[in-house]
C-alpha cells in the first residue's frame, strides 16, 4: 500500500478565470504531483487538490505568490486512511 503520510488536500477558492487557469497550469508544472480531487471548473466552485508532502512548500509558495486563497481540507491523508482501514477491519471482525 502506498503511504500518504504528510500529504495534504488543499481547498483553493479561485476568484476568477485567470486564477483557475493558474491552477490548471499546475498540472503541467508539476506532472503527476498534483492530484485534483475537484478539478478547476468555475470561480463559484472550490478546487480540491492533493499535494504530496514533498511538494507542499513549493505548491503553497506558488499559491501565495499568485494570491490564491487556500485552506487545508485534510491535514494528513494517511491519518484518515488508517482510520478507514481500522474501521473496515473492525467491521470484518464483527
Amino acid at each position: 500500500q502506498m503511504n500518504f503520510t504528510g500529504d495534504q488536500v488543499l481547498r483553493v477558492l479561485a476568484k476568477n478565470e485567470k486564477q483557475l487557469s493558474l491552477l490548471r497550469d499546475l498540472e503541467g508544472l508539476k506532472p503527476q504531483k498534483v492530484d485534483f480531487w475537484r478539478g478547476p471548473a468555475r470561480p463559484s466552485l472550490p478546487v480540491d487538490m492533493r499535494v504530496p508532502f514533498s511538494e507542499l512548500k513549493d505548491i503553497k509558495a506558488y499559491l501565495e505568490s499568485h494570491g490564491l486563497a487556500y485552506s487545508i481540507m485534510i491535514k494528513d491523508i494517511q491519518v484518515l486512511l488508517d482510520e478507514e482501514r481500522e474501521a473496515m477491519a473492525k467491521s470484518r471482525r464483527l
Partner: protein, 309 residues
Amino acid sequence: ERSTSSFSYSSYHTLEEIYTWIDNFATEHSDIASKIRIGYSFENRSILVLKFSTGGSQRPAIWIDTGIHAREWITHATGIWTARKIVNEYGKDRIVTNVLNAMDIFMEIVSNPDGFAFTHSMNRLWRKNKSSRPGIFCIGVDLNRNWKSGFGGNGSNNSPCSETYHGPSPQSEPEVAAIVDFITAHGNIKALISIHSYSQMLMYPYGHTLEPVSDQEELYSLAKNAVQALYEVHGMEYIFGSISTTLYVASGITVDWAYDSGIKYSFSFELRDTGRYGFLLPAAQIVPTAQETWLAIQTIMEHTLNHPY
C-alpha cells in the same frame, strides 16, 4: 453459511467481499434478482451486473452504475445498499412496485474492478482502470473519458500519465466496451444513472459541449425534483444542471454517449462529501448518503416509468 444478512451495509468492502455478496444476494433473491457477467476487465476480472426483473421479456429498463472511478468508494457502497433497498421495497413501496411490474433494472456495482482492487492493495487514491500498452510508461485510462461521444475533446487528456487520459480510441477499454455492448444489445434502456463522488451534484448531458440537449427543459425539471427529494431526507444541498454548465467541459463521458444513443433520461450523480473528507468519506456516512440518493433515484425512475418514449 455466509449470507447477505451478515453483510455490513454501513462499511466499506473489498472486491472479493462485494462479489461474494453479489452471489449471495442473487441466490437469496432469485425470484427478482439475477447475476449477469457482461464481460471481463483488462486484468481479466469478471464484470458483473445485477438484473432486477419480475418477468416479461425485452421490457424497458433502467441502468445504474457505480464505481467507474475506483477511489470513489462511497458509490459502490451506495450501489450495494440500493440493491438491497430495491428487493426490500418491491411489493411494499408504490413506486418500486410499479416500476418493477413494468420495467427491469440493471445495476453494475463495480464498473472498474481492476482499479477498485488496486485501491485496496496498493493505492487508495487510484482513479483509472489498470490497462497498459507497449511503449506507454503510465498505467490506466479514465473510464469516464473513453466513450464515443465527444471523444478526445476538451476536458479530457491525451497524456497517458494524466488522471483524465481518454485512452487510445473510443471504447478501447474493456470495461467501457462491455457496457456499450450490453446496452446496445439490450436496445430498450430508457434511463441511465452513473454514480460518482464527490461534490454533491446531479447533472445531465452534455459534458462535451455547452450546447443544450434537445430535452434540456425536461431534464432540468426532473433534476430539480430529484434534488429536492434528496434534500428532504438529510438536508444535503445539491446543485444541478448540464455537466458543461454546472461543472466543466468533459469529453468522452458516459451520459453523453447514453443520451446520443437514445437514452433520454441520462444522469450523473456526484455524491457526498461536502468538503471535509473528499474521497475518504467515513463509513458512518454510507447509509445516510445512500438513503438520500435513493429518493433522487426513485424520482428519476418514476418519471421514466410515467413518460414512456
